[in-house]
Subunit: 433 residues, 2 copies
């Protein structure tokens, strides 16, 4: 037999797939783990939600109802379908109609176009997986949600950063990129425009209504080789504390062919249940469901029925109101803390967000904020406070990424800790200035 | 501007990724949906579990405990980690030790090597994703679990079917394939040997202990270019009704470097909670967790704590005993029904399974069982009974796949329906014979 290796030799190394080699550890995994494991450090980093606002009583009530009757209990403990529980998808049509300010009929979709996933993260990942080959292009705001950038990198996609200002992604800059890509003969590789449309993670800014409409028009007009999709990540849509109620990007897509909408119950209800959902143009239903069939053939049926019960019993809307009140208070507390503790440090600016979980802070140009920077080490190891380095939130060329910004979250910590964390952070900035 | 498409034109078609184009609708999605939507048809197809044996009271008790205290309730409604709840991973070490018949210390692993997933399906899919590039080779039993074949096809992997007999995959045939692949210069593409080690889905057969040991030895010896992994799918391990207690394939991998073990609570407890898990050789921890970080950064934390509580309170083992009793009875009922209703139909044989959920039936050579065959149509449309066509369960060359077999499940239907479904199936066979 043509075998030479003896059993006492060390085995050779594994040989991983290209996809594994493209995949880096998600910084969010690292930060979430740090948050869970180091209760002494104040985390202005983790996107964990406020423990105090988690729906304990609502969950008790819904679970009691789900399990009260043996027959019903067995239904929810059984397998569901790949696409997700029909009862929740039906509820979601009403929910979306309320958010869009229209009737269910005027939504122009049916429950078949809804898919339930393990958080909206799985939905975003499935969309990318179904559309993007290595080298394909996704246009993203600069900065944008770093976890989705990780997903794109894991597919060896090419991310191109589009300039943004206080109204979100600039449509003129978007169009300029498309013109440039067409001139370079690369327009056929452009598959997606990714937008976090409400209280962007990390900046807290909203895309203005006028820009929403223009970007949909641009996506349709630039669908020359194939359909160019807009992936609207509306994770923070319901987390509005003040400021205008904005229509979704999806709402401007009259034909329902070009915008893919992702939403979730992780922020507005409970992330521990991991129920997210997406609204799909008809052409994408089978591709996304088939990919999900391979990945897990369905998320937890029990959890989907739990959320459906919460909505049916009218427990959801009042809970969201409570959540909003709580985060509004925490946002105010954090902004006050920044005013207080950063007073007198020159060249520091920050965004006042009207929703979401984040305050985006810009330090003087020379002050690096990355994981290996003196500031991060001073903050984490000396002061005991963590943040998300802003450079993680940029796609495009590495060299051109700003590295003097921070995403500060008021999500997980209670008000007194927000104040103390901000004080520690200001100390760290002063120490390395 | 170089734009010609007017907004009234129809938009062009989407352009999907290669991976989407490789992916077919999972037959299981189709069959599960049929099972859910057509309560009139008796399903000997769906791998749904027995509703009567679902753990209603156990779940009530565990949920009551989880939610009794506000602080604890908030912990389980919060995000968990990508790898899964530490408390359940710790419990699982004890559980595995009991199954292996050794102490936790003698397991030779720690909780870091355990990852919690959305059913074991997500674990299998993650392993394939991290190891397999298009064209890479996975050796599988003939027949084997068709859903995993779908996962492999979705990666454009090459599946090679290895002959099996009543003792499972034949190690001589496995080695002959490896010799042939080496001669063809393709050994460097061989990444995985996939085994359903207990009560194989679809055949109900077990790999014999001697073969388990030999296959591990073969995997190590043939790790010439890189580590050749064995992926042991032990989904039905705890579903033993009689016959010997077999050691796992994983147990024969003394160095814990070559065998990846997948298990689940879907069959032994509740599929609606979607909690599966895997045991990883150390080199695979980061690759699998990183891929999961991209896919969903963690399955439902609530559900993991629920299962942990069930185990901590000693509710799990007695429940598994009840489940076993119930399925043993249903298996006996189905075998009796086959004896009765197939009496006098020539050339029909079937396997007597000692565990799992399936009876594998072979019809005369000429009698096709596929979705488009006269038999399937007669069974589904005229008689009102569904089964899984055997041809779905074969990898390798399409032309060489047997097409006269059926997987019959006694999982979901109650005894009287099993009898009636078997009667209908025998009628369908008689009608097309």
């Amino acid at each position: 037999m043509p075998v030479e290796t003896s059993s006492t030799n060390r085995l050779p190394e594994p040989s991983f797939s290209l996809r594994r080699r493209w995949t880096e550890k998600q910084a969010i995994s690292y930060l979430m783990q740090q948050g869970v494991e180091n209760p002494g450090v104040i985390s202005l980093a983790a996107g964990l939600v406020d423990p105090g606002s988690l729906p304990v009583e609502e969950t008790r009530q819904a679970v009691r109802e789900l399990l009260a009757d043996d027959r019903r209990a067995r239904e929810v403990l059984q397998y569901g379908t790949t696409q997700g529980a029909q009862t929740l998808r039906q509820q979601l049509l009403g929910h979306l109609a309320r958010l869009e300010g229209c009737s269910v009929e005027d939504l122009g979709i049916d429950a078949e176009q809804l898919i339930l996933t393990t958080g909206s993260q799985q939905f975003l990942s499935l969309v990318a997986d179904a559309l993007i080959d290595p080298g394909d292009i996704c246009l993203v705001a600069a900065p944008t949600y770093f976890v989705f950038l990780g997903v794109l990198n894991g597919l060896n996609a090419c991310t191109i950063a589009v300039d943004t200002d206080e109204n979100g992604m600039d449509p003129d800059a978007l169009e300029a990129q498309l013109i440039r890509l067409e001139a370079d003969g690369r327009l056929d590789r452009v598959k997606l425009i990714y937008l976090v449309s409400y209280y962007e993670n990390p900046t807290g800014l909203c895309l203005s209504a006028a820009r929403r409409e223009r970007i949909v028009e641009i996506a349709k007009r630039w669908s020359k080789f194939h359909r160019l999709y807009v992936l609207e990540d509306a994770a923070y849509r319901e987390m509005r504390y003040d400021g205008p109620v904005l229509p979704s990007v999806w709402g401007f897509d009259g034909s329902r062919e070009s915008v893919i909408l992702a939403q979730t119950f992780s922020k507005s209800f409970s992330p521990g249940l991991r129920v997210g959902y997406g609204v799909l143009p008809r052409d994408l239903i089978a591709p996304i469901c088939d990919r999900k069939g391979n990945e897990d053939f369905g998320s937890a049926n029990f959890n989907q029925h739990l959320i459906a019960t919460v909505m049916q019993r009218g427990l959801y809307a009042p809970h969201v109101e409570k959540v909003r009140d709580s985060y509004r208070n925490k946002r105010d507390c954090m902004l006050r803390a920044i005013d207080t503790h950063f007073a007198g440090i020159e060249g520091v600016t920050w965004v006042h967000p009207h929703g979401g979980l984040y305050v985006w802070m810009t330090l003087p140009d020379h002050m690096e904020t990355g994981f290996t920077s003196p500031l991060f080490r001073q903050a984490a190891n000396v002061e005991g406070v963590m943040y998300v380095p802003g450079e993680l939130c940029y796609g495009g060329e590495k060299a051109s990424r700003p590295s003097h910004q921070m995403r500060l979250s008021f999500g997980v910590e209670e008000p007194s800790k927000l104040d103390e964390g901000t004080r520690r952070l200001a100390n760290a900035v002063r120490a390395v200035v």
